[in-house]
Amino acid sequence: MSVSWQTLADALSLGGIYALMAVGIGLVFGVLRLVNFAYGQLIMAGAYAVAYASVWGWPSWAGILLCFAVVLALTMLMDRIVFRPLRTQSPAVMLVATFAVAFLMQSIAVLAFGQLGTIASSMGPLNQPWDIGGVQIRKIAIVSVVVAAICLALLQLLLTRTSVGLHMRAASMDFRTARLLGVRANRVIGGAVLISGLLAAVSAVMLTARDPQVTPIFALDDTIIVLAGVVLGGLTRPITATLGGFTIGFASGLLGGALPTNQSQYLPTFLFAAVILVLLVRPNGLFARAGGSAERL
């Protein structure tokens, strides 16, 4: 088992992308107590936007813009027609509802774009290696680490330095008390949903650059792993969810690169066995503070 620089860089970049997805899922969970299983399908839609823009011969910046537009529109639509009517329901009902939305979007993609998928070739240059001191590292690995770091830093500023961020943190601690103290529910939820949509769009661009083959199940496996990571880290605060996402992305990137080929097919087994073990020891999450009560479902 040997770890190359490329493997390490890939693991870091996967950790970065998963951290972005994790915080996108974690923010919405904070204000709505809703685990959005359909998050991966938002990313899939964004990836199709990038792919089709490249098929139509648009420049890559236009593809990225289209991706943001599509993902944000779908996020808002999802909030409007699914999350809002279900806000008062139990977390179990909401989770199953997002399950339904996920499969709905996936089957729409199958009907509209076909099973085979489309290639987003405009992102190709990002897959070329950079030569850093004799070590070859793919550009996308470095770009995604940098982008993830910038996004997380901006988010941290937003959450700690602005009143919207303060409201959001208050709402995720105790929604009712926050409302009684004058936090506007719709504004906070809208803000959280919007940010989570932005993060989904960023993740979509990064994932498309890593893997330009866009199919209806694009990002499905990633979302499942991120969901496990989010619960693994703990959903109590955005930072714990982020750390959980990063940890599982880094671990899965490292294992995927380091395992010998005849064992790498068992990667999900190793990964989920580890997740189950950690949850048994720390059901509230790896990074949760002691003494918090577990989420019931």
Partner: protein
Amino acid sequence: MKRLHELIAPVALVLGTALLGLVVSSALQTYFLDTLIKVAIVVALYVFIGNSGVLSFGHISFVALGVWTAGVLTVPVDQKNAIMPGLAHFLLHANVGNVPSLLLAAVAGLVFAFVAGLPLMRLSGLAAGIATFGVLEIVNNVLRYYDKIGPGLNAFSSVPQTTGIWQAAIGALICIGVAFAYQRSRFGRQLRATREDPAAASAAGISIYRQRLLAFAVSGALAGLAGGLYVHLLPVEIDSLYLDVTFLTLAMLVVGGSGSLLGAVVGALAIGGLDSFLSAAENGVDLFGWHLNLPTGTAVLAVGALMALVLIVRPSGLTGGREFSLAWMRR
């Protein structure tokens, strides 16, 4: 046993489906058989999810285990090498009949669910959801790639196709009977009490952990039995028992109403019927002189849309979580 009349509607629905399946053409009969097996799976899900109120994404792995057990033990010995070239020696010569293979499938589901439940039932909420999901991932991953124990990515062909209408109907009825007996027993009532108010139930001396574990094991046995029935119906690819089936069966339970046995049966039949019809239409079907040919993917689309709609309009499901009552008829 009191309140036996609650069984009238579920049993009548299953028997009605079976009788309808007897009169249609053999091409359409497969859909009826498939739906009856879905009833068995959804009832198995209901035993745990409905009574405990805890979501499980892991039950399809028990079905897969039942498929594997019944399949690997009933492929004729002289064909095992052809279908499963990497098969371990001790499985190479094992062969049992139809009924023993179904029983062993149920036992496999029971034992595996019990062993998996020993640690997992300590969890609740999202942690339980993700952990049961992990079980599904692991079982799917191992059965897909470990070719020493099964056909891996290939289909379980050459398994004797003994699941006819009656075997499927009897299997579904056994599941319904066990689910009913369980929910009326003191164990079932204790588990339902923990669902309504965990704090009060523990204060009354109920061990939430033990009751959940028992329900998990019972529902694992039923899911294993359903898997056994399934592999005797058609050459199953174990790999296909994954997210789609998990979604479809959970949708059936939620749409029917996860709070009652009747809900499980109604949901399975309603969505099973719709899904079968649309799947048939994807291959082209003649309906009252119309030729209907839908593009691939319509069935999943319709099921997803219906499920989202029912959840938004009627979150407690079509039956509202109530059992069948004779008072409905007197009104």
